[in-house]
């Protein structure tokens, strides 16, 4: 099996010959997604929820249909789906909207050392403002969520456990249902950063165990400018609005306001309407392939890449080297060669990888590196992309006299 070659024609950017191995940062967008947005904007656009005229009704229906589509994708209730600007905003909404209400001195927030800054910095800010303390679950030697350490750190004072559903730097996939059920035993709320998990593995929120789940459209073939916060209704009810404005109110007087029902309560102002239509089309596209097949495809390429990378002189792989509980993200360094030099050299070979700290600086310190080069796969990648990657790396090794 060599991926889904039929799909590649849907991604015009690939015609340039680029070996795009940076979907972990953001994915490319297939033509059906771009066309759905364009068609909607040309024929049915108006603001939503506000007008009594047909165009506005059509736009509102399209927007709410997108919400239902997301709900179906997650096996959730549509009222539990909140459209946001992206995973970062979703996580800030929980940290501030839930955290400022329910955290105080003596309370503990538990996160991990491998979080993306989006699931770390907001909790630092909220800890500072509420007096709660922040603690971090370490990772094991092969870059996995350390369950033993977690059990030790978990106690009745822990009010929220926030962790990544899949590490954007290591590819690790923590066992969310287990972690969540342990957290629920001490009555902590569980926040899962699904920015990588949802696009690559899909989730069923009925079995995931999370109370909140955040993700972005742009990493799952959809447009920029929109993301999702899913929350179990009882968890959402504990949350204060993060932003005030139009559409989120029931009534407003000069000095006071009451909130609209959920989900509108958390969607202040004009939402990302055209983008919701695009996300809808992206989910249709993903489901037409099938999330299981997508995960298997990522895994297949990961297996090949892990094997071939091990043969390249000087290359070191950070994170799990086997396929257990991991997705299609591989972080590497090359002895004597900085990750940015690797990225530049690979770029000259038509291979796009990301070099840097991947918005996970504490994890980089943990790994003892300043930066890594990160390879990440998605539906349009093939074994040829790995060929190009490996030959680019060999070239880098030669240039820098490695091995």
């Amino acid at each position: 099996m060599n991926g889904f070659p039929d799909l590649r024609a849907d991604f015009p950017i690939l015609e340039t010959g680029v070996h795009f191995l940076d979907s972990g940062a953001s994915s490319q967008k297939p033509v059906p997604v771009l066309e759905a947005m364009d068609r909607f904007a040309r024929t049915s656009y108006a603001n939503v929820h506000r007008g009594a005229y047909k165009l506005s009704v059509a736009a509102t229906e399209a927007y709410e249909a997108a919400r239902q589509r997301v709900a179906r994708f997650l096996n959730a209730d549509p009222d539990e789906v909140i459209f946001t600007r992206g995973a970062t905003t979703s996580l800030n909404m929980v940290a501030f909207g839930w955290g400022m209400q329910h955290l105080g001195p003596g309370d503990r927030i538990l996160t991990t050392v491998m979080e993306h800054h989006a699931n770390l910095v907001p909790w630092q800010m909220v800890a500072r403002r509420t007096g709660a303390t922040l603690d971090h679950v370490p990772i094991t030697a092969d870059g996995r969520f350390d369950l033993d350490a977690y059990r030790e750190k978990l106690d009745e004072r822990v009010k929220v456990v926030a962790f990544t559903g899949m590490s954007n730097a290591l590819g690790t996939i923590p066992v969310t249902p287990l972690i969540a059920s342990l957290a629920h035993e001490v009555d902590a709320r569980v926040v899962v950063d699904g920015a990588q998990l949802v696009p690559h593995r899909g989730v069923d929120v009925k079995t995931l165990g999370a109370d909140f789940l955040a993700f972005s459209s742009h990493k799952m073939l959809g447009p920029t400018g929109i993301g999702v916060l899913w929350g179990r209704m009882d968890a959402l009810e504990e949350m204060e609005p993060f932003e005030g404005g139009g559409e989120m109110i029931a009534d407003v007087t000069l000095h006071d306001a009451t909130w609209a029902p959920i989900p509108h309560r958390f969607e202040a102002g004009t939402p990302s309407i055209i983008e919701a239509v695009g996300l809808h089309a992206a989910i249709d596209y993903l489901d037409s392939i099938g999330m299981d097949r997508i995960f298997a495809h990522d895994r297949h390429l990961t297996a090949i890449a892990l094997e071939r990378l091990a043969d390249v002189p000087g290359v070191r792989i950070h994170g799990p080297r086997d396929l257990e509980d991991r997705g299609g993200v591989i972080s590497i360094t090359m002895d004597g060669t900085h990750a940015h030099d690797l990225a530049t050299i690979l770029d000259e070979h038509g291979v796009a990888v990301r070099a840097g700290h991947h918005c996970a600086k504490p994890l980089m310190r943990e790994l003892g590196v300043a930066a890594t080069a990160r390879v990440s796969f998605y539906v349009y990648n093939t074994e040829e992309d790995i060929d190009a990657l490996v030959s680019g790396l060999r070239k880098a090794g030669e240039l820098f006299g490695v091995g």
Partner: protein, 147 residues
């Protein structure tokens, strides 16, 4: 090919064997800086005698371009006055901002002249994202002068 133009031997040499590495015990001027986008870091200590750089020490970590550039810079400023260094910074910036990478030939007033080894960094111009790497040490040097 362009890559050989970027990674010239002299650059790789400075990267592998950075000159003037370390700290000065009691520097007259010091500064550090980093590129928040890529995390590259440089720290510079300077000491002056008779208005001229008597000693320089550089610490840092990052890509070959940022570290080699700082190493070459540390060589170039030894024995120079503040005015001469300011002039050098201007020449370096001029070289980096030249459009299209056209080699200005042997004109002694051309921006790259008198930069010595550092002229090897001209290849960076073809890689706009890497210009920030090459410039990092020089930005920190400017800060040290304003110390």
């Amino acid at each position: 090919m362009a890559l050989e133009d970027l990674y010239r031997e002299v650059i790789l040499d400075h990267y592998r064997n950075p000159r003037n590495r370390g700290r000065l015990p009691d520097p007259d001027a010091t500064a550090e800086g980093m590129n928040p986008l890529c995390g590259d870091e440089i720290r510079i200590d300077l000491s002056f005698e008779d208005g001229k750089v008597a000693a320089v020490a550089v610490e840092g970590q990052g890509c070959s371009i940022s570290q080699a550039s700082a190493s070459m810079m540390s060589e170039a400023i030894k024995g120079k006055t503040r005015e001469e260094i300011t002039e050098l910074i201007a020449r370096f910036r001029g070289m980096m901002s030249l459009e299209g990478g056209v080699d200005p030939g042997l004109d002694p007033d051309r921006p790259g002249a008198a930069l010595g080894d550092m002229e090897a960094l001209q290849g960076v111009r073809q890689y706009p994202v890497r210009i920030k790497c090459a410039s990092l040490g020089w930005t920190v040097l400017q800060d040290a002068l304003n110390f």
